[in-house]
Amino acid sequence: MQETMPRTGQDTGHELVAQHGAAVEQTAPARQAEYHRFDLWQRVDHIMLLSSFTVLGLTGLPQMFSTQPWATWMILTMGGIETVRIIHRVAATVLMLGAIYHGGITTYKVFVRRVRLTMLPGWQDVKDAFQAFAYNLGLYKHEPRMGQYNFAEKAEYWAVIWGSAVMIMTGFMLWNPITTTLFLPGEIIPAAKAAHGGEALLAVLSIITWHVYHVHVKRFNKSMFTGYLAREAMEEEHILELERIEAGRRQIPPDPQAVRRRTMVFVPVAVVISVSLLVGLYFFVTHEHTAIETIQPPTTEQLQAANPPGEQSFTPATNQALDQPVGITW
């Protein structure tokens, strides 16, 4: 495919071009063109989220519905509840690392590179959503014309942000209930458990419906893995962005000197924040043990058989009785 369909906007090493759409090569036929959509950082980010989310879902939901036969079967198949919990926690750690990573690259792009904030939701997205729905029902003549990220994608992105925040916070409470109750009432723990489960169910069901439909069913959208999206999809879902690219309105590369100056600020701040977040994560993961350590069972006690009932009535009165000669031949 790569051979038959020449790509446009190949990563030339110029980051901004790669990041924000590529100019269509004048020689290539427009219908065959692919447009750069996600850079490597984003694709790695997605892989981290994809893998951790899937594992979290697969190990978490059976715990939520643990008494259901299917859930029990899943847990036992995955190696028992203790193993499942370990896997869940490893995946949670990956998710949190991913969150720190995402925060880092996003902040870099926003503050150092000064990219357009195309993921910010706005009133237009609400209108787009209603227009799309009305169009689907035949109540509106045209599909909405949407930019780099449409309302479906924004909804999903911010749902992940919100969901991750809820899951990480409630997860911390469940992982560290003793530390949590140092500051918060005990009731917060079962409440966190309820929220953790509810939010998880909401997230998984959303992914299964919304995400799967939009990027797997409606059209098998490989751009998050390949980095490129076909023109047809661009036309349908991101027509404004396509027009922008084709009009050659690329973002002007920022002043290299300013970038260098901002990087000088960003790197130490980012390092400090990332390191403190990583330390926090380490604390999160390792602080409490009582929930997973085994309390030793009590030692067994040694007992002596007392006078059995049948012989209880019988006790030699004096020592003399013991010595008294008795015929023992019968």
């Binding site: 309820a194 929220a195 419906t209 049948g310 019968w330």
Partner: protein, 578 residues
């Protein structure tokens, strides 16, 4: 002496002539001795010899003349003795008053005549010949034969003596009952032991002497005498066992210095589960001693001595007895903790007898309190805890049938190690069995959703999953008794209860040592979250119960519309193409 006999003879010649005539008649009539023998003897009880009348066996006497007047004439006054060839002296005088006072005298329906017993007409025809007996014993034996003319034969009356292997020295009727002064049998039974002792003065077998002396000394009632053991007929083995062991009083000292009481009270066996029983309308009689003590060495007397070093060894040795009948239960005990301990060398571990007793076994759970007493005889500390618990107190107070006793939780014969993974893992089901039963819990106004709320929580979830994974899985999460206590379980309203709110943190800290004040409230105390109890949890649940269907439903609706539109578009395009 001969001279005096002649003098008497000469003086009373005419009278004797008359007597002779009468004697002739008697002798003639006695010519039918066979007839007398062949007449069936009346069924004579040895207890009631006075019922016998001589008429039954003897020929009719001549009326009006005493047949023995002549005998008495001489023998009443005789003071001399007759020397028998052996040198024994035969007393010739007869105490007529003693004769008269005897059962054959005035007590008899018809007084016996001398010749009724001294019936050999050849010998007693006057003048007598000296008796053919060589010694006094032979003489007595000879006279005793005459008893059988009226009384039952000695084979029937006294077969015991006849069993003796040495038959040279058998006693005859006269030896026991006496001769002229023969007493009613009842008089003999007044002091039966002393009576036997007139002959049996020593006990010859030194191996048995001590036991025999002890048993004889214990023969304290008229029903107990020599014949208790030495009866006329051969006793069943069981009776032999009981005869001796019910009379033994002294203890057997073992090598260890410990003593064994060989005494067995047959009445206790009769009253035990192995005694007289009515099971489902079937009547059972007591087990015999040898039903349990089957070893051949116990089927005859004397049996060999105990060959055990101490009492415990004896108990352990005897345990195998029970499996002869109770094999299924015995097999169960092989898997039990007590037997495991025993196999590992703890000889104090409980065996059948330690719990059930031996000769006096009673139904083990009647009343149910008995179970507690039995287990408590070894597990004393636990028993003390139990009796103060909510379960134990109710049991002791009014024999409450709903509360568990030891065996309800621990099992009976195949008792599991209570500290084992298996027991711990299964314990919640065990508690839940009663505590989920509405029929039981409603009586005490106790919630029955304790299992559901437990399983819904972290501890219970883990427990259930572990149990489903493997029954042998080790678990560290709390089970019922980690929080509520084990044997000392108290109601949550009791101020000493481990789960009382004031004490709950301490209970949590058993496993979560760093837990702070707030931590214990993280456990919802078996409450379902509601507006009153744990409202935050309730509202979080409510939130997601609304948000999830709304969100996912909205997504689904949009997707459905999108699918619809795409199909519609495709259809239209196809139409346009065609």
């Amino acid at each position: 002496m001969k001279q005096s006999v002649q003098q008497i003879f000469q003086r009373s010649l005419p009278f004797l002539a008359c007597l002779l005539a009468a004697g002739l008649v008697v002798v003639l009539l006695n010519g039918l001795p066979a007839l007398a023998q062949e007449q069936p003897s009346a069924p004579v009880s040895e207890q009631t010899p006075q019922a016998v009348t001589p008429q039954d066996a003897l020929p009719a006497q001549m009326p009006g003349a005493a047949t023995d007047s002549a005998c008495k004439l001489c023998h009443a006054d005789l003071t001399g003795t007759l020397a028998l060839p052996s040198g024994d002296e035969l007393t010739l005088g007869v105490d007529l008053s003693a004769l008269d006072a005897s059962v054959h005298g005035q007590h008899a329906a018809q007084q016996l005549a001398c010749t009724d017993c001294h019936a050999d007409r050849q010998r007693y025809q006057y003048p007598h010949q000296p008796p053919p007996a060589q010694n006094l014993q032979e003489y007595r034996a000879d006279v005793a034969q005459n008893c059988e003319r009226c009384h039952v034969s000695s084979e029937l009356h006294n077969p015991g003596h006849l069993q003796a292997q040495d038959k040279t020295n058998l006693p005859n009727c006269v030896d026991c009952h006496g001769s002229h002064e023969v007493e009613p049998a009842a008089a003999m039974y007044a002091a039966p032991i002393a009576f036997c002792r007139t002959c049996h003065q020593t006990f010859e077998d030194p191996a048995l002497a001590a036991v025999h002396t002890e048993v004889v000394a214990s023969l304290d009632s008229p029903e107990h005498n020599c014949t208790t053991c030495h009866s006329d007929t051969v006793q069943p083995v069981d009776a032999q066992c009981k005869n001796c062991h019910s009379l033994l009083t002294s203890w057997v000292t073992l090598e260890s210095g410990e003593v064994i009481d060989p005494h067995v009270t047959p009445a206790h066996i009769d009253a035990s589960v192995h005694g007289f029983r009515d099971v489902d309308g079937k009547q059972y009689t007591p087990l015999a001693c040898t039903d349990c003590h089957r070893n051949q060495q116990y089927t005859h007397y004397p049996h060999p001595p105990l060959e055990v070093a101490n009492r415990r060894e004896l108990t352990l040795q005897r345990e195998a007895i029970c499996q002869n009948c109770h094999s299924n239960i015995f097999d169960q005990t092989r898997d039990g903790i007590h037997n495991h301990a025993l196999q590992e060398g703890n000889k104090q571990a409980a065996t059948c007898f330690d719990c059930h007793g031996s000769h006096e076994i009673q139904p083990p759970d009647v009343p149910r309190e008995r179970v507690v007493a039995t287990c408590g005889s070894c597990h004393e500390d636990i028993k003390e805890q139990y009796v103060t618990s909510v379960h134990g107190a109710a049991l002791l107070a009014d024999d409450n049938p709903d509360v568990p006793v030891c065996t309800d939780c621990h099992g009976v014969h195949d008792i599991v190690q209570a500290t084992s993974n298996e027991f711990r893992l299964a314990s919640t089901e065990m508690c839940g069995k009663c505590h989920s039963d509405v029929n039981i819990m409603d009586k005490y106004n106790i919630s029955t959703n304790v299992m559901e709320t437990y399983v819904a929580d972290f501890h219970g979830t883990t427990n259930v999953l572990f149990a489903r994974e493997s029954a042998h899985q080790e678990i560290n999460t709390a089970v019922c008794y980690d929080c509520h206590g084990v044997h000392n379980i108290l109601p949550a309203t009791d101020e000493n209860s481990q789960i009382m709110k004031a004490n709950l943190l301490t209970t949590c800290q058993q496993c979560h040592p760093n837990a702070s004040e707030n931590f214990s409230a993280a456990w919802m105390s078996h409450y379902e979250p509601s507006v009153e109890h744990y409202p935050l949890v309730y509202f979080v649940n409510l939130f997601y119960r609304i948000v999830i269907p709304l969100t996912v439903g909205g997504f689904a609706l949009f997707i459905a519309s999108d699918v619809y539109r795409r199909l519609w578009n495709r259809l239209r395009r196809r139409k346009g193409q065609s």
